[in-house]
Symmetry: C2
Subunit: 388 residues, 2 copies
Amino acid sequence: MFILSEQELKIKSLLQQLKKQAGSHSPSIWQLTEHLNNIKITIDACFLSNPYATDLFEEYLQKDLISSGKLREILEYYPSQNAAIARKLSPYLNVEADRIFIGNGASEIIQALLHHFVKKRMAVILPTFSPYYEYAREDVHVFFHYLKKENEFKLNVPLLFKELEQWQCDTLVLINPNNPDGSYLSQATLRTIFEQGKQLEQIIVDESFIHFAYEDDKKSIPSCISLCHEFNNLIIVKSMSKDFGIAGIRAGYGIMHSEKVKTLLKNGYLWNSCGLAEYFFNLLSNSNFLDKYEALRLRYISEMKLFYKLLEQIPEIKVYPSKANFYLIELLGDIPAEDLALALLIRNGIYVRLAKDKIGLRGEFIRIASRRYEENRQICEAISKIFY
Amino acid sequence: MFILSEQELKIKSLLQQLKKQAGSHSPSIWQLTEHLNNIKITIDACFLSNPYATDLFEEYLQKDLISSGKLREILEYYPSQNAAIARKLSPYLNVEADRIFIGNGASEIIQALLHHFVKKRMAVILPTFSPYYEYAREDVHVFFHYLKKENEFKLNVPLLFKELEQWQCDTLVLINPNNPDGSYLSQATLRTIFEQGKQLEQIIVDESFIHFAYEDDKKSIPSCISLCHEFNNLIIVKSMSKDFGIAGIRAGYGIMHSEKVKTLLKNGYLWNSCGLAEYFFNLLSNSNFLDKYEALRLRYISEMKLFYKLLEQIPEIKVYPSKANFYLIELLGDIPAEDLALALLIRNGIYVRLAKDKIGLRGEFIRIASRRYEENRQICEAISKIFY
């Protein structure tokens, strides 16, 4: 039987305090290790990033900056301005530079879009990444369209548009694949949405997890970037933290109509990339780096799929289908998700995302990021052990 | 006689293009080295930072992150949230954590203040750091109070308040010491201003250069932070780029009433520090680091003073008194400031700040940052050589 020890209950209350301070997000690894000093996190399956890509970035950084002694310049000099970095990113994205807005992580871009472009009424699909409603201006009304677990979080497009019309929204936000469930909108479905949504001021598509999704055998990245010319109201938001494994350097971009980029740059956002972010953006013009990244992306995707199969074999949980690098897991028995997450952390050093604060989720859920194969195997073993 | 060669004139036009793209700021060193590949910048006297402090930060980073192998975690993990970093900074600043707002460089803080708190009418002292008027919302009227070179850019407080009343401003911005001239408001003068300005919604004091100013023999830092409790409308803005020599990691803080911090955090700014910025903020709790920093700050200040004496000996220029780590220099002869800056760059690899785009400055001005003593000496030698 599964019972938390007294010591574990003490840690539970400490964790609840940290969580309270962190609002609708998880405390950082730094916060956890500072405040829970007898717990060592060995597997971070809470934050969502490809560890193989971090290896690659670290390898380049070691060679280009550390061995060469150039790191000092990265620390000392002012980075280039937003538009200068956008010009360098333009060939990689195959989009005109004046349509690219560089962000200090996707969260800054979300904030900028919500503050400057949403007019009065915005529709968000639940469950979601909370900044999409938390950062809304006070004078904006946010409407929620609910995905249902009974439908495996699949979007019902006609129903959504019925609601949009009823609500008279000016803005629609989609995350594809969606966070925290991993549900995916195909390119064909998105085209239907864009066609039907032409009268909206903007459709924001957050593609932060798109590098893990695919529709063909070659696993090509099914991004909507190329549709930006056809649909003037389309805005793409992209974090670089997940696919490139570099959450700590804060890098992201948005793609939108050039008038929107102009508006944002008139309002600031001038030196919002740090030196390491500028170095990273420069790497995206380096074909050797990109070739190596592509191989690691494919490897990671295949291990994500194996992880799904391992998780499916645990009878006490339901794993929802996902095209992102994480799985939303529902606990079918009596153990509360919070206690499972706690036991994984204390007994195994595995940090997972408790989904308790995700509005629109009914039930006991945790979200687990896919890591290296061996780590994924350990996660499954640890979960099984707790149940038996 | 001073004449630019044909080759130099070509570079001049290239530089003018880069400058045009950079707006009212200077192109980054990265942009210059990319586009002017036959010019090697050996002394950066354009951007404003203490190189000894960069040495110190580099030393700690080498030991704490690179030798220990911890750099990877800084790249991979999400940094802590704004409020978590503020809590750590609280003892160093001797201010309650809920009054501290962490920024991605001072420029993000300026943007946040101007967008969220300025009501309708704002007064800015000219010449100034341009984001203070460039980032103003479209519905805000910015009024300019002019400092005069004839008065060595000294502020006339009664005149300023006469104008403030006439303009019915809700916000006053002061930079102390001021950028780009280095003029300084004593603590006594500031207290007078704060007393008289109690009815204003806010007085923003940018102390980004305060570590280079002093009033006593011990060269104590004359910050206004301790006055924040007495004057509720006081807001302090602080870049860490200059004093700590780390422009590339983007770190700054603002100190303001806790209600204002709450308002900002409700609007985003959640993960706006990169991992290296969080590491740097942690260093401010390390007394060994702070002791070493203090010694280097004093050394740098004494070399700044020597630099002033060297510059004063050049008869063709007027150096304005400054308590910041730079000197505003007026050219008294026939050589345009642009050509002097160009010659320094091409012939000597010395990058200085052409002040042509600083509104409110009449005449031919350049701003030169103080570097290490030997570099300062080379700058003076190079300027003298151009004149003879």
